[in-house]
Symmetry: C2
């Protein structure tokens, strides 16, 4: 079962929008054992669309097309599909009624001629209902390939895909199994891991494929198994993961690809009724944002301060200015004082403090660009460490966050053990 995705729209090719739809579609298809072979982003151009449809049909059982279904003149997907299928557009009464209801409820104006045209669909198409918008999804079978066309607006596409297209694919196609297992590791580089597990990798069964997904000090290892016998795949993955344990068990922090370290820490804190506060000079709010983006943050997150200007570190946070003067603003002494002050000020069990120079130019300290000091204050004491992460601002901030979380997790686990 092979699928291809075609996303239509000049705005993707000139980089005005990032195509997030394809990743969403890929993930959903993958879950039901449909294998995405290629994603092609193409122009709002009739001939280009026709060529892409022909090529995709020659390789795939399912072709998913998004975009180009709006009411305006630059949207030509529907007409082009008609030409490709040698079909004609007809008014679909059900869709027309839906459009009229949407206008009545949200726009509070009569439906325009332009919007009426959104109810035109190829006569051979089955409608995939679009709860949130006026452009319907369409399902067209043609020479042993199924074509699914959906609007490019992400939340409309998602609703059509999940509620209508995926169930229909499951109903109409026999599919092989695809299983993935993601192993999250911390604190070791991709190439060092590869050396350690080389023999294990060479001995993986043929139906299992390994991929390395490195990201700022974290490396995810993704095992993908594919075949007809689901039990065999499950056993293969289980065995492979078990054999990995003695090799790199000490750097494995989790297995669920969706489980981030923030989530793991949030769960640890919540379950044990522990609280956290932050002083983020170098990381500038990034860690606070990563916790507060998750629901339930108020259960463990007391708050945070970004003492960005040097004088704020003493004036608001209460770090002794003498320490800053003596040791410089990027120093272990200062970051420890920041963490301890924050813990006290916010009345939390743990606190993280970061201070550093992310660059590109030197700031209020002589510290080399990329230098970051991190401290974790715990119920029993404090740990701190100095790093030189990189010469790239966002990378240094990202690495400082990841390292802070790693250090915090270690201290929480130590506290609980």
């Amino acid at each position: 079962m092979i699928a291809e995705i075609i996303t239509i729209g000049d705005e993707i090719l000139i980089g005005q929008i990032v195509d997030t739809n394809s990743a969403f579609i890929g993930k959903q298809l993958n879950k039901i054992g449909v294998d995405v072979h290629q994603i092609s982003s193409i122009r709002d151009d009739k001939q280009h669309i026709l060529n892409a449809l022909t090529e995709a049909q020659s390789r795939a059982d399912i072709v998913i097309v998004t975009g180009g279904l709006g009411p305006t003149k630059d949207d030509i997907t529907k007409h082009t599909l008609c030409e490709y299928f040698n079909d004609e557009l007809v008014i679909n009464e059900e869709v027309l009624t839906h459009i009229e209801q949407l206008f009545d409820k949200y726009i509070k104006s009569p439906i325009s001629e332009i919007n009426k045209k959104q109810a035109l669909i190829p006569s051979k198409a089955e409608v995939l209902y679009n709860e949130f918008g006026t452009a319907p999804g369409m399902w067209i079978s043609h020479d042993n390939t199924v074509f699914i066309s959906m609007p490019g607006v992400p939340f409309e596409m998602k609703s059509i895909l999940i509620n209508h297209a995926i169930p229909k694919i499951q109903e109409r196609f026999d599919r092989p199994s695809i299983l993935h297992k993601t192993i999250l590791t911390y604190g070791m580089g991709e190439s060092r891991i590869a050396e350690i597990i080389e023999k294990w990798e060479d001995n993986l069964p043929d139906f299992i494929k390994l991929a390395y997904l490195p990201n700022l000090g974290r490396v995810r290892l993704r095992l993908s198994a594919r075949g007809k016998n689901k039990e065999l795949l499950e056993k293969g993955i289980k065995d492979a993961v078990e054999e990995l344990q003695p090799l790199i068990g000490d750097i494995i922090v989790g297995y669920d690809e969706d489980e981030s370290i923030e989530k793991v820490i949030a769960n640890l804190l919540t379950e044990n009724k522990l609280t956290l506060s932050l002083a983020e000079s170098c990381t500038g709010g990034k860690i606070a944002n990563s916790f507060t983006a998750m629901e339930g943050a108020s259960k463990y997150f007391n708050g945070s301060i970004v003492p960005y200007a040097t004088n704020i570190k003493s004036k608001v946070l209460g770090v002794d200015f003498g320490i800053i003067k003596e040791h410089s603003v990027v120093s272990l002494k200062v970051v420890e004082a920041m963490a301890l002050q924050t813990k006290q000020l916010f009345g939390s069990d743990f606190s993280i403090a970061t201070t550093g120079n992310a660059g590109p130019t030197k700031g209020d300290s002589d510290a080399e660009v990329g230098t970051v000091c991190i401290a974790i204050a715990t119920p029993k004491g404090i740990v701190s460490e100095e790093f030189v992460f990189s010469n790239h601002r966002k990378r240094t901030i990202g690495k400082a966050m990841n390292k802070s979380l790693e250090m915090l997790q270690e201290q929480i686990l130590k506290h609980l053990s």
Copy 2:
């Protein structure tokens, strides 16, 4: 001048990562008059890569390939390029020295055999220096097409593209002109705009194309002009924009697509030597992070506090607890007090405060999920407003940030006028 982009990696096809590289590359090529015809995301599979290279070469003058250049076994781009070009891998001494320096500085361990292999490049390739990583970019001319291969790690790719690939393209190719002008509108639907400007659209010169890009109440209209005579294109776009003014001038809010509002505010503050501080209860660090991610933040950003727990709002920030008790924590009175206290505490000219309930459940207040209060303290006073944004946590936080920035910008402009 036609380019195609090929992104290699199973992780894109199974939706584990979103391909943001292509949009960045598309935008940069577009700026220098190179037209991206297609973006293809393909598997880590030799035959698939070879097919994609052949197809892209048949259509394009420049083929840009990203991904598959890591040190591990699943990364096969380099070997496949060698097969395609009938070439062989040779050690590049310059790259090897660079890798050794990176290891010496950041990894503090001797270079491994696996990493040494990163210095292998096809003998026909010119190196595009990768300042931030071990996998070099490569430039290979082959049968009138130029192939550019870069690692998939976004910040490494960006640096290679901007500093090396783009200048080389500009130097080696004659290019036609492509001009874009994006018109930002607010508060009118796509189809209603289309009706109003239909005649204008029909009368656009042939070399100008119009696209509608709708997104949650905002519709961007993009005009693209293409041709040899840059002056003619400029005049065509200028005339078209002028003719649009009497038709929809009242809903046009801006023209520049690139400039984020954070960047605009950062420039305004820096140029006028003004400073900013934040109290982000509802937005939880997101606004601070958006400013501190940009270099030069220390010139205007004094700092921020995330008074997440209700008691922190009074204990650390100093908001009178009586006000919180009387008006509830999500109220205009409280958010105004937060902004004023923050401005004073951090000694800044402006401050933003947010408090709200992003959901999914109600917190320390009875406010409906999605309710957010925002205040801007200015050198002369304070403004505040209450909103109900959405029933989706991240969406509410994002909208609260955008609205805060919009309100801040308005107040800064008012102050400066």
